[in-house]
């Protein structure tokens, strides 16, 4: 892991640095123009957020049912990433909406449910921090419910008539847009994986530190 990590980090950084140039080559969209290019960061960030929520939920489930400590550490890392990528989605979305819909915010199904899902993971972090002893289990339960939210958020835009573009957009992307989109998606996923590993490593170190403290106290 230690040798692969720096290589992957450099690859991710290069991909990310290249992204704006790749995006600059894309054709402009008909109705939305230049501002639509936010799509190339907004949607991959949303994909990363959903993935983070799923990982957190599954890891939390494993912690609850199998008492797996490593799963709990992974869950914390995934929750933080869900908050970070969720913040990116919730900021880039309104910046795009301001131009294309004329308003910063709309209370439609997809946007509202995304905000609520984000808040669930913020609550996860709050409970972890301020919940005292046994907070791991409390937050794990919350994450399980948060994960159940993900499919709901995803399909909400197809069920209700909303102003948000439907999920049919991505499969039907025209050629000039498809390449750059998947390029950005891959770099976001790679970045997500790396950040997850890094953050989980921090949790592992903290656990080891706690054990060292206990050892020091015993002497």
């Amino acid at each position: 892991m230690n040798r692969v990590f720096p290589v992957l980090a450099i690859v991710a950084a290069v991909l990310f640095a290249a992204a704006p140039f790749v995006v600059a080559q894309t054709p402009n969209e008909a109705t939305m123009g230049v501002v639509q290019k936010i799509f190339y960061y907004h949607v991959p960030a949303a994909m990363a957020m959903f993935l983070a929520a799923f990982v957190c939920g599954i890891a939390s489930g494993m912690y609850l049912f199998k008492k797996n400590e490593a799963a709990d550490r992974l869950a914390v890392a995934a929750a933080e990433l869900a908050v970070v990528f969720g913040l990116i989605v919730l900021v880039t979305g309104p910046l795009w909406a301001r131009k294309s819909w004329g308003v910063w915010w709309q209370w439609d199904a997809r946007i509202t449910s995304t905000l609520l899902m984000w808040m669930i993971f913020v609550a996860y972090l709050l409970v972890r921090r301020f919940g005292g002893a046994g907070a791991e289990k409390l937050s794990a339960a919350l994450a399980v419910f948060g994960m159940a939210n993900v499919p709901f958020v995803y399909i909400s835009v197809n069920i209700w008539r909303t102003i948000h573009p439907t999920t049919a957009v991505v499969p039907k992307l025209p050629g000039g847009m498809k390449g750059p989109f998947w390029f950005c998606a891959v770099s976001f996923m790679l970045l997500f994986g790396l950040l997850l590993a890094l953050r989980a490593r921090l949790e592992l170190r903290r656990a080891e530190l706690d054990k060292l403290y206990l050892q020091a106290d015993e002497e």
């Binding site: 969209e29 230049v34 209370w107």
Partner: protein, 105 residues
């Protein structure tokens, strides 16, 4: 002991503020639910601008640039935060390991 109690009280107060904010949000949501339904139908696919006869480019550069800048800044800040905590924990571990290995204290 006093310090721990103060910290607990501070934490409680922060939580109380958060609860108030959530309450306000809960009060606003039903009113917002009665807002006008959004205009326009959802897009089913993206169409490149060259496929239409004439279309002006909308001057949206500041929004685009801020969006990309925010993404970069957010990710960099997060990476920096994690890295900083990691370094701190590793430093503490080295200090502790040194103290444990010393005979007696």
């Amino acid at each position: 002991m006093q310090n721990a109690k103060c910290r607990m009280q501070y934490a409680r107060r922060r939580l109380a503020v958060l609860l108030m904010l959530l309450t306000i949000a809960a009060a606003v949501a039903p009113a917002a639910a009665f807002a006008q339904p959004p205009q326009g139908s959802p897009q089913e696919e993206f169409v490149p601008v060259k496929d239409l006869p004439q279309q002006e480019q909308l001057p949206a550069a500041p929004l685009l640039v801020s969006a990309y800048a925010f993404v970069w800044v957010a990710l960099l800040v997060y990476v920096w935060m994690v890295w900083r905590r990691l370094l701190k924990v590793e430093r503490e571990m080295r200090d502790l390991a040194g103290r444990i290995n010393q005979p007696g204290r």
